[in-house]
C-alpha cells in the first residue's frame, strides 16, 4: 500500500509499504477514506518530538471502513464506517474506566522513554513517535486499530465523512479544552490559536455556556473563520498588545478562561525580544518548547481564572511566570484529548446542527501530494486550515 512516511526533519516521502495485518485479537483493519493533517504533526516534521525513526508512517486523525476484525472484537463489524480516536486507550485500565483514556496504562508498547522523561507513561498515539508507542499512522491506505471496540466509533447515519473525520481528534480536543475549563454561564473565554483545534474550542466554549469567546491569531483567514464560522470576536496579536486588548474587552478583569490551542512552537510576533530569546534557547537546547502563549495567558487571565492547555508540549520551558500564576490563584488544566469520552456526545451535536467541523477541510488531496500538502499547511499558504488526504483516490 501507499503511505506517507517521516524520513527526517522536513523530509516526508510517499512510499510503498506492506499492508497492515491483524496482530492482537481486539484489532481491526480500517481502509482509510479520509486522513487529516494536524498542527501537532508539524512538531514531528520540524524535529521537535524525539524518538521518530525513518520510515515511520504519520497521521492520526482519520475515518474509514472496517475491512478485517480480530476474533475478540464484539461491537464492530466489517463494513462499518468508523472514526478512530487518535489517542489509543485499552478500555480496561483505571484511567480508561474513568474517562482518562489519554493516560491509558496499557496502550503504549514502548513505555521506557516516557517513564524516563515524564515519570509515568501515557497512552499510545497513532503516528506520533516511538515515545508514544510507535504505532503506524493513518496517512496510508490501511491502518491497524488496536482495542477497536473502545477506540473506533460507528459514524451515525446522516453525518457526512467530511464532518465526521474531525471527531477523531480536532473536535474532541477543542471540546475537552472547553469542558475541563469548567466554563460557567456568563464567562468570557479567550482562545489562543485558530487552527482546527482552536476553531473547535471556540464552538465548544459556546456550547458549554460561554457568553463571549475571543479568538487570537495573526493569520487573516483563520481569524475570519473564527469570526464567521465559529462566532468569535477576534484579535490579531501581530497588531495589538494582547494583554491590553483583553483587559479592555473584559472591563479590566481579564478572561475567565484562557485556552492554549498552540503549544510548543508559539511565536511572539508582538514581542521580538521575547521571540528571539525563546528561539535562541530552543536552538541551543536550553529549552525544548517555546512558551510565549503560556506566559501571555498567565498574565492576561483574570484572578482566580482557569488556563486550559491542549496545545502540545514535549519537554522543558524557561521563564515560566510561576509567581504570577500562584499569586493570581490560577487553575491549570491540561492534557491530551480523551476522545472516547466525548465521541457520542459530539456526533449528537453534529447531528443537531450545533457543530459543523467540515469547514476545517479547506483542501482535499490524494496521498501522493503529502509532502507538498504539509509544506502548504505549515506555511499556511492558500488559506489552508486543514488538508485532508483521500488515500483511496
Amino acid at each position: 500500500m501507499k503511505a506517507l512516511c517521516w524520513n527526517g526533519t522536513n523530509d516526508l516521502r510517499v512510499e510503498r509499504v506492506p499492508d497492515p495485518v491483524l496482530v492482537n485479537p481486539h484489532d481491526v483493519i480500517v481502509k482509510v477514506a479520509l486522513s487529516s493533517v494536524c498542527g501537532s504533526d508539524l512538531h514531528l516534521i520540524d524535529g521537535y518530538v524525539p524518538t521518530m525513526r525513518p520510515g515511520d508512517i504519520i497521521g492520526h486523525e482519520f475515518l474509514g471502513e472496517i475491512v478485517e476484525k480480530g476474533p475478540e472484537v464484539r461491537y464492530l463489524n466489517r463494513g462499518d464506517r468508523v472514526i478512530t480516536v487518535s489517542i489509543i486507550g485499552c478500555g480496561h485500565c483505571g484511567h480508561c474506566r474513568h474517562g482518562e483514556s489519554s493516560l491509558c496504562d496499557n496502550s503504549n508498547p514502548n513505555p521506557d522513554y516516557a517513564r524516563t522523561a515524564y515519570g509515568h507513561c501515557g497512552a499510545g498515539i497513532f503516528g506520533y513517535s516511538h515515545a508514544f508507542g510507535g504505532y503506524a499512522g493513518s496517512h496510508a491506505e490501511y491502518i491497524r486499530v488496536p482495542y477497536a471496540d473502545f477506540n473506533a466509533f460507528r459514524v451515525p447515519e446522516g453525518i457526512s465523512d467530511e464532518k465526521a473525520v474531525f471527531v477523531s481528534d480536532a473536535v474532541p480536543t477543542g471540546y475537552m479544552a472547553a469542558d475541563m475549563a469548567g466554563i460557567r454561564p456568563g464567562d468570557v473565554v479567550a482562545v489562543w490559536g485558530c487552527g482546527g483545534v482552536g476553531q473547535m474550542a471556540i464552538r465548544s466554549a459556546y456550547l458549554l455556556g460561554a457568553e463571549r469567546v475571543i479568538a487570537i491569531d495573526r493569520f487573516p483567514d483563520r481569524l475570519r473563520a473564527a469570526q464567521m464560522k465559529a462566532g468569535a470576536e477576534t484579535l490579531d496579536y501581530s497588531r495589538v498588545d494582547i494583554f491590553d486588548a483583553l483587559q479592555a474587552m473584559t472591563g479590566g478583569r481579564g478572561p475567565d478562561v484562557c485556552i492554549d490551542a498552540v503549544g510548543m512552537e508559539a511565536d511572539s510576533a508582538s514581542n521580538a525580544v521575547e521571540d528571539l530569546y525563546d528561539r535562541a534557547k530552543q536552538a541551543v537546547g536550553l529549552q525544548t518548547d517555546r512558551p510565549a502563549v503560556l506566559r501571555q495567558m498567565i498574565e492576561s487571565c483574570r484572578k482566580g481564572g482557569t488556563l486550559s492547555i491542549v496545545g502540545v508540549y514535549g519537554g522543558l520551558i524557561d521563564r515560566f511566570p510561576m509567581g504570577a500564576a500562584m499569586n493570581k490563584g490560577l487553575t491549570f488544566r491540561m492534557g491530551q484529548q480523551n476522545g472516547q469520552r466525548y465521541a457520542e456526545r459530539l456526533f449528537e451535536h453534529i447531528r443537531n446542527g450545533d457543530l459543523d467541523p467540515s469547514y476545517l477541510m479547506t483542501h482535499r488531496l490524494p496521498l501522493d501530494d503529502g509532502p507538498q500538502a504539509y509544506r502548504m499547511f505549515k506555511e499556511k499558504a492558500d488559506d489552508c486550515l486543514r488538508v485532508v488526504f483521500a488515500p483511496q483516490s
Partner: protein
C-alpha cells in the same frame, strides 16, 4: 504503567521484606535485627554495671547496635540467617564463586484494575510465567510445591528448580531455587488492595545471589528489567487479555522495504 523498579538498598521503604521464617529468610535483615537487639541488651547490661567492665560492655553494645542499624553485618550474613533453609543458597562449584556477598534485591510494583484472586490465580500457575517473562522458555509444574524453570540463555537452555515457600491465598506467594543453579534466587509476589476502587497493588521482589550483571549476561535482562517487564505484562494480560505491540506493522524507510519496528 504505574510500575517502578526499586533496586538495591536504601531507595525505598521495603514493607514486604521477606517475613522472617519464610524459606531461607533474609539473612541480611535477620542479622541486622539480631545485632541491634543484642547490642541494645549488651548496652543496657553494661550501663547497669560499674567500672571498666560495664563501660566496655556499654561501648560494645552501642557498637553492635550501630553496626546492625547501618547494615554492617558484624557476624556475616550467613551465620545470622533467621531460619536457614538447607539447599536454598547451598554452595555448588562455580556458582559459589560468582555469588554476590550482598543479595541483589529488586522490587517492582504496579496497580492492576482487578481483584486479587484473578491476579493470584494467574501467577500461582507458574506455567503462565513465560507469558510474563520472555526470557523463560517454559516452566514445568512438577508438584504442588515444585517446578522446573527453563530459560533461554545465550542460545542455550538454562534450568533451575524452584520450591514454593509460602502460599497465602490472594495475598502472598514466595518461592526460591533449590539445588545447583547458576542463578540462585528467591522471589515473592505480594498483593494488597489499592485504596478506593483502584484494584490491587502488586509487588514483585526478586533477590538474586549473583550480581545483576551476571543475571543480565545469562538472561539478557537485569533483575530490574525482568521485574518491571513481568509486571507490565501481568497488568496487560489481566486487564486487557493481550499485550500491546507494534510487531509486524508496516513502515517505510529509504529503501521502501519492510522493516519491523522493535518494541
Amino acid at each position: 504503567m504505574a510500575s517502578n523498579s526499586l533496586t538495591g538498598r536504601g531507595r525505598w521503604p521495603q514493607p514486604d521484606s521477606f517475613p522472617s521464617g519464610i524459606g531461607s529468610g533474609d539473612a541480611a535483615t535477620g542479622g541486622r535485627w539480631l545485632a541491634m537487639v543484642g547490642g541494645t541488651a549488651l548496652g543496657v547490661l553494661g550501663l547497669r554495671r560499674s567500672g571498666w567492665g560495664g563501660a566496655m560492655m556499654a561501648l560494645g553494645g552501642a557498637g553492635l547496635f550501630a553496626a546492625g542499624a547501618l547494615g554492617l553485618r558484624p557476624f556475616g550474613e550467613r551465620s545470622l540467617a533467621a531460619t536457614p533453609n538447607p539447599g536454598a543458597w547451598r554452595s555448588h562449584g562455580s556458582a559459589t564463586r560468582r555469588r554476590s556477598l550482598t543479595p541483589e534485591r529488586t522490587q517492582a510494583v504496579v496497580t492492576i484494575a482487578s481483584d486479587a484472586g484473578t491476579i493470584f490465580r494467574f501467577w500461582r500457575n507458574f506455567a503462565n510465567l513465560p507469558k510474563l517473562m520472555p526470557q523463560l522458555e517454559r516452566v514445568d509444574v512438577l508438584s504442588a510445591t515444585e517446578s522446573n524453570w527453563i530459560a533461554k540463555s545465550r542460545g542455550e537452555l538454562l534450568n533451575w528448580r524452584c520450591v514454593l515457600d509460602r502460599v497465602d491465598e490472594d495475598r502472598l506467594l514466595t518461592w526460591h531455587t533449590v539445588g545447583e543453579t547458576a542463578l540462585p534466587h528467591r522471589a515473592s509476589l505480594m498483593l494488597s488492595p489499592a485504596p478506593g476502587d483502584r484494584g490491587t497493588e502488586v509487588r514483585l521482589t526478586l533477590v538474586y545471589r549473583v550480581p545483576a550483571t551476571e543475571v543480565a549476561t545469562l538472561l539478557g535482562t537485569t533483575p530490574a528489567g525482568q521485574a518491571e517487564e513481568a509486571l507490565r505484562r501481568l497488568k496487560q494480560r489481566v486487564e486487557t487479555g493481550e499485550l500491546s505491540t507494534i510487531e509486524r506493522q508496516p513502515r517505510g524507510g529509504t529503501s521502501g522495504s519492510f522493516r519491523e519496528a522493535t518494541e
